[in-house]
Amino acid sequence: MRRALDVVLALAVLLGAWQLAASVAASAVLPPPAAVLRWIGAALVSGDLVAHVASSLLRVLHGLAVAALFAIPLAFLLAPAFRAGSALVTVLELLRPIPPIAWIPLAVLWFGVGDGAAVFIVAIAAFFPMFTATYAGLRAIPPIYLRVARNFGAAPLVLATEVLLPAIRAPLLAGLRIAVGVGWASVIAAEMIAARSGLGYAIQLDRIMLDFEGILGGMIAIGVIGFGSNTALARLASRADVPATGATGEASP
């Protein structure tokens, strides 16, 4: 309760500062909070905002699915093979510093302007945290669990569902959380150049139209949705906090 109150207070300070800055600046350059809130209300009513949010979110989900489809099986394939695994991880470390938005030109040439390019950018962004989390998670499984599974003669499917996946649940969720964060940031950037819908496209269009309220309203929507998804995933991760390792202190001498 205390914390919620503090947050409301901090928000009020932010809005106050914004209001103050807006009253000093020309309203055409920095509209006051009330005007932006009015714009958000109108955009919600007209359905424009919802449509843009929906197409951005769909692209993120689509991109995450594509990334998971490549990253997780690849990590499962490479984790047991030490030499191949570490070689490919080095190659990926070379690709990782390329920011996802640097792929936009290629994405546009390959997929054209539209969903394909934006989904591709999200997938590139989300691939790295997902792969790294799965790979590192698998490599960090205490060997004793694998030995138990071998001893019982676990078939690959049983090994994967009963041992490997539960053992890496925590790092996998952490990786997913990072992937959602970078995916959301990347979809906005991609839509500014390579799409005809979505929040990124909307605020880019508002720039051309000199619609300051639209730009700020869109930015607020981006922030709120990013915050919401991150909070939801954090809650999911803390609920699945069964430790992958660790006995009680007395378990092993």
Partner: protein, 253 residues
């Protein structure tokens, strides 16, 4: 009484961990009759654990042969289960799910799995705790879950590597009696590694004293005590004599 066949037959076993490393076992012979409990004792670092892992099929011997129930050991098998020295329960699964794991590997159906796991947990006195996670159980309870997980899968041979280290003496004795009773009831042969000579004398029909470094000999000493072991046996003169003989054998003056 007709002599029972030997379930475990180890002949001239030589093991080293790497090609250029020193031998850990150098020509060990050991035969354990079916349906009995054998204990391997010897100074620490004499290769006791190595012997267990070799019989389990986790290591390939350099030379010599290991046969269990007449078949050569070529790799791990659910027919030869190991109770590991370290904590080996899956921390993400409840006691019941842990016990079900082996049955899952053996392809036992869901209903039968559940019934047999509950029976096994009841036999180690843990039915009321079946929904607890390992970290919510004491060290002694964790060992009992691991025991139930192994016994429920009905192996021919149970290989036990110092399973009771770190427990206080009273608890150790309770578990020694429980383990002996459980494997005898199930008709499982048990090969048990320990450095505790009293434990060895109390639980086994045959004690194998490893000597030499690397271990070259496994001297077999038969234990001439009643099949049903109770704590009273520890006070008997035959137990004291046996212990004296074991001590002399382990540390020849």
């Amino acid at each position: 009484m007709t002599p029972r066949a030997d379930l475990v037959e180890v002949a001239s076993l030589r093991v080293r961990y790497r090609k250029d490393a020193d031998l850990v076992l150098d020509g060990i012979d050991l035969r354990l009759p079916a349906g009995t409990v054998g204990c391997v004792v010897g100074p620490s670092g004499c290769g006791k654990t190595t012997l267990i892992h070799a019989v389990a099929g986790f290591l390939r011997p350099e030379s010599g042969s290991i046969r269990v129930a007449g078949s050569p050991v070529l790799g791990p098998s659910p027919d030869r289960l190991v109770l590991f020295q370290e904590f080996s329960l899956f921390p993400w699964a409840t006691a019941q799910k842990n016990v079900e794991f082996g049955l899952r590997c053996l392809g036992v159906g869901r209903e039968e799995r559940r019934t047999r796991a509950r029976e096994a947990l009841a036999r180690v006195g843990l039915d009321p705790y079946r929904h607890r996670f390992p970290r919510e159980l004491s060290g002694g309870m964790q060992r009992r879950v691991a025991l139930a997980r192994a016994v429920v899968a009905r192996p021919r041979l149970l290989l036990v590597d110092e399973p009771l280290t770190g427990l206080d003496p009273g608890l150790r004795e309770d578990l020694q009696i429980m383990m002996r009773r459980l494997v005898r009831d199930a008709g499982i042969t048990m090969l048990w590694v320990t450095h505790d000579l009293e434990e060895a004398a109390f639980i086994s029909e045959h004690v194998f004293v490893l000597s030499g470094s690397p271990a070259r000999r496994a001297t077999r000493i038969s234990v001439d005590l009643d099949g049903d072991r109770s704590l009273a046996i520890r006070e008997s003169s035959s137990f004291t004599n046996l212990l004296r003989r074991l001590r002399a054998e382990v540390a020849p003056s």
